[in-house]
Symmetry: D2
Subunit: 143 residues, 4 copies
């Protein structure tokens, strides 16, 4: 019996808006970072850790790394399903992985986004707060 973060995933839905398209007809690549941000905080809300509660504790979570692999384009009005997962809970950062599928269940994008914790007042890095670790572990399905 072991806790596994593999289970810590969430599906976020996003309808591709007109403003997000470009003259190539594609969902412009610059939109993924924003969509993935929404996905991870909806995930955290579902774990009862709204991001606003983290900021209320005097912390910010800036992104420190983002990697994207674009596999297929998305188009206007596509109904995307974004699987977001906590990949690593390290002492000083949190890594999220993403897999985006279109309405035909085709994998169109994979990504990893890593965030740090800093103090809002000083900008100094701090360790991953215990209440977040606990919440993530509590919510983990035991396998």
């Amino acid at each position: 019996m072991q806790s596994s973060l593999k289970s810590n995933s969430y599906i976020h839905h996003h309808r591709v808006g007109y403003a997000e398209t470009d003259k190539m007809q594609f969902l412009h690549h610059s939109n993924y970072a924003r969509i993935y941000e929404n996905a991870r905080w909806e995930f955290f809300r579902s774990l009862n850790i709204p991001y606003s509660a983290i900021e209320e504790k005097g912390l910010f979570m800036p992104v420190i790394n983002m990697d994207f692999k674009f596999i297929k384009p998305a188009f206007y009005d596509d109904n995307l399903s974004i699987e977001v997962r906590v990949e690593n809970i390290l002492n000083i950062k949190l890594a999220f992985t993403y897999r985006t599928f279109n309405q035909n269940s085709e994998l169109i994008n994979e990504a990893m986004v890593t965030l740090a914790f800093i103090k809002a007042d000083s900008g100094k890095p701090v360790r991953t707060p215990e209440f977040i670790k606990e919440r993530l572990i509590t919510k983990t399905v035991l396998v």
Copy 2:
């Protein structure tokens, strides 16, 4: 001999980027508000009133009204010239008017954006600061 705000205008240049286009091939209408924001603060920088100096005095300038008239579309890589002008200096707000021309000197957009002054700490509205009024009048060409 009279001071006239009519002279208080500035030309800002903007190259239409790929991310700003949409599947209709047009500069998406949602981008104008951002471009016009950049234009008015570059105008203010030219008057030696960088917007950051206004915030350093504990003030914010939220937009309270925006009206846009879209006359012709702009396209990828168009080289836009945006004429921004202070239309009204009222005691409690500032109105800017805009006219955007493409590289063929065609008028493609007209707009008015009105901003208020509020205290950053309380959100309370305040009067247009004297240093801004003075700067705008000082810079006015006397005709």
Copy 3:
């Protein structure tokens, strides 16, 4: 017994994302045009007129006028309710009005956005298609 477009309204929900905020802590004013675009096409989808079907008929609907009145700011994570309404069905354009409320039922924004119909291939303006007029009238609650 009379058909009334007054009934032709729809409520769209929008959660304010982090990327939409600015250093003033507000939902930046440039985001409303995009949010309102999403709201009107979700409204049209609910009327069984997905915007993609309009484009499939060889038409585009560019925005020709936008007016916004900013009454109160919105903040990160606010849960906005956007009431969108078809205000006028003219022969050559469609006007939508918007009223946005925050989770405390405070009116924070009012807007009108007017769109035209043009042919996708030539850019020439065309009349409001009959299938759209019919759909809007059919869906009207008779009072």
Copy 4:
């Protein structure tokens, strides 16, 4: 005497706009992809390969990979210098690397963005066009 792509670099300037900031006061991380897109096409314009000319030849250049490392935040009104470089000219893709410095010459961001060539009509991948390879090599400083 040898041609070296190491010399193929360009400095693009970007002033951080208000709409690009977030409630953390930072240039929001989602803006880098758009800024880097502008930087690489200004670089290509300087090499006499405007991106619009590539599309006129029936090609699109979608992004297939993007990696970002965020080292320090950027703030409102920061005057960023973005060094963009062609890292690899492969037969089927082009890789660009980026280093962004603020006005204090601090390195704040590093990135790599890789693009493919596809046919606009079919979406099929094609090899890097000869006119681009030639232009990139011609412009290389011989060392």
